[in-house]
Amino acid sequence: MNGTGTGTAAPSETELGELRAAVRNFLAAKSDEHAVRTAMGSERGHDEKVWRQMADQLGLQALTVPAEHGGDGLGLVELGVVLEEMGEALLPSPFLSTVVLAATAVVASGDVAAAERLLPAIAAGTLTATLAVPDHAGSWDVGAGLRVTATGGRTGAVLDGIAPIVLDGATADVVLVVADGPDGPALHVIDGDAPGLARTPLRTLDPTRRMARLDLDGVHAEPVGDPASLTAVLDRVLDVATTALAAEQVGGARACLAASARYATERMQFGRPIGTFQAVKHKCADMYTRVQVADAAAREAARAVDGIEGAPAAGIAAAVAHSVCSEAFMAVAAENIQVHGGIGFTWEHPAHLYYRRAKASQLLFGGPAVYHERLLARVGV
């Protein structure tokens, strides 16, 4: 427990429990399987009414926005609870792009003007946003050059290039773009309907999380923050994003575990519930073990990112959680299909939606090869 946290106190379990119950009830009403399938088949990929209700009824978009910009100023420990529930319900939503990627980037940039322009609207649920890091490898490695370039001065830059895969890129009201400029890579913001911006929705492995290609042809952009601090900003965004994703992954894994345990208890084969067979029973126990370890990793990362006393270094805990939770969710989602047998690989059964989410989440920030090396870099090996 001799960590490096700076001494923030942890929120109480009671408060977290209340938050969880509120989100869970909301999602049970708004994001059951039918709603998920409807949203994933819709043009925009999510239900905009639910997005507004999330803001109006629960204020979820405001949770981690700093108080001075219209939010509650809470941390990843609280946000983790929300994302865990969203992951469990497979909610299709621009939450990860808007609240996690974009808002964190704006806050981390220290750009007060951008924060004042964007954060209150994000907190109010009236603005969706995303972040594009159009590097060549898809692993946020901005040092090796970017596929979007910025010309012009520090105000009123012009962006050209391609961002090949951008989370919620087709629907976001504004897009933060990292582009190579005269002072090196720098953060910019463009409007989603800016002239010169073509947005092409892409087929996705995970139909509950949309991606788009952005083609930028002389798009007007506002610089955000100081290019000198961009690496630090992106490191922070990556720590926050992978920690948030880890919580979502734990939620998804938990849903798979619950489905398997339920099916193993109810499904009869050879005159017995299949859960009485050790092969199935131990599969469920293995899934449980993975979920518990992933859960601990996700929570520790949230505490670390929030700087809670006694927590380990944020960069390390976030990298550990990203690795452990990515693999746990993938393994548990795959095993869930096996426990279900034939019915588990039909289109009608939700098992494959979790499998798709698990694989897409694992690869979202580069995938195993990238996150393992990132972890070693964070621990200095």
């Binding site: 895969i165 050879f270 096996q338 289109w347 494959h352 090869a369």
Partner: protein, 424 residues
């Protein structure tokens, strides 16, 4: 002096040269960046393409049949040649050198499994009527065994058949029925006496798939295609002479079918998925993604290749044993387990190499196309017997480990259903 086998090879070669085009070199290995960008285990096509392919299959099977290669191991009375399984394999090996239609729609279930079952258990006039039609490519047969509530416990079929005069009246639902949408006949396991233990009250009937009351609905699998069907049977009349084996003796009939299923397993090393996971193709995948010099990737490639090669060697060994006159036994399940494992690992390996370009289709060749394989591999560990069932077979039938204490093999089926419902 040429041996009998040499002569067989010569005749087969002559037939193939006359009726098909020989491939050039390793034409069955996909080339990186060339051709259709699709990596799949299942073969789902749009309906019109599917129908055309079935027609081609039927035509090629008729050509084979008319030239004496439609049923190499079958009795002469039904158009066969009464040669050994080895001759069959040798012919397959030769044919693989030619560019001919894939006849899987006919052979995997119908000719490979249902044909031998009809031969072993049907009355003579039924054999006369269906066997030549099947091996000539006219009749496609499907296997109406699996049911939603039975799952791995195949002997728990609930589809009922009730005697009515000279007919049986069949009601129930089957599932995971491949080729049912194309089939003319289906071999259907039915519960005929629920007062007997579950293995004892089953009767096997040959159902005319065009009979009133048979409805085939496609079943969409998680990878998007519909390679299987649900088959609903509502008051379907089946004449008693279409029964295979004894009344209530259908489990023995089913075992004949299942044994023939295991025997066909060795050949699974082929197929577009296995070819995509071949070393040359994966090497190009690594090269295209700049990972050919990455130690971690190389290590995983070596592990994958070693297991693939060893599985291939295992199949070579099975063929050598066959040549030596040993029939394959339950140990053939090893090949299926390894095949599923290698394909699963291979798909995840490729996914890791491709990285984020797997999650959205950027149009780049050889990236998003891996998703279909990734979404197909879970089925490999379930279809044709789950891993758990395979392992039970290996442990009990090969290693001789004792069976789990079971109550449900002796109790009347009717009571099992009751206690089953109560227990869930």
């Amino acid at each position: 002096m040429p041996s009998e086998m040499d002569e067989f090879v010569a005749t087969a070669r002559e037939f193939l040269d006359a009726n098909a085009t020989r491939r050039s070199g390793s034409a069955d290995l996909p080339e990186w960046g060339v051709g259709e960008d699709r990596i799949t285990y299942f073969s789902t096509d749009p309906p019109e393409v599917d129908a055309a392919k079935v027609a081609e299959s039927r035509a090629w099977q008729r050509t084979r049949y008319e030239n004496g290669f439609g049923w190499v191991t079958g009795p002469r009375a039904y158009g066969g040649r009464e040669l050994s399984t080895l001759h069959d394999l040798v012919y397959d090996g030769l044919e693989a050198e030619y560019d001919v239609p894939d006849t899987g729609v006919l052979s995997l279930i119908g000719l490979g499994m249902i044909g031998p079952t009809i031969l072993a258990h049907a009355r003579d006039h039924i054999k006369d009527r269906y066997l030549p039609a099947m091996y000539r490519g006219d009749a496609i047969a499907c296997q109406l065994f699996s049911e939603p509530s039975a799952g791995s416990d195949l002997a728990s079929v609930e589809t009922r058949a009730v005697r009515d005069g000279d007919d049986w009246v069949v009601d129930g639902q089957k599932v995971w029925t491949s080729v049912a949408q194309h089939a003319q006949i289906g071999l259907c396991l039915c519960r005929t006496n629920p007062d007997l233990p579950k293995h004892k009250g089953i009767t096997a009937l040959l159902v005319d798939m065009s009979a009133p009351g048979v409805e085939v609905r496609p079943l969409r699998q998680m990878s998007g295609g519909a390679d299987f069907n649900e088959v609903f049977l509502t008051g379907v009349r089946v004449p008693d002479d279409h029964r295979l084996g004894e009344v209530d003796g259908g489990w023995r009939v089913a075992l004949t079918t299942l044994m023939n299923e295991r025997a066909t397993v060795g050949g699974e090393g082929a197929g577009p998925a296995a070819r995509a996971l071949s070393l040359p193709f994966l090497t190009e995948l690594l090269r295209a993604n700049g990972r050919l010099d990455d130690g971690a990737t190389r290590r995983r490639l070596a592990e994958l290749y070693a297991d693939q090669a060893a599985t291939e060697y295992l199949n070579h060994q099975a063929i050598r044993k066959l040549r030596a006159g040993t029939q394959p036994g339950p140990e053939a399940s090893v090949s299926k387990l390894m095949y599923a494992r290698n394909l699963t690992r291979g798909a995840h390996f490729a996914a890791e190499v491709v990285g984020p370009r797997l999650i959205a289709d950027t149009g780049e060749w050889g990236t998003y196309s891996w998703t279909e394989l990734l979404l197909s591999t879970p089925a490999l560990r379930i279809l044709g017997g789950t891993e758990e069932i395979m392992k039970n077979i290996l442990a009990e039938r090969v290693l001789g480990l004792p069976k789990e204490p079971s109550i449900d093999s002796r109790s009347p089926f009717r009571e099992l259903r009751r206690s089953g419902t109560a227990g869930s």
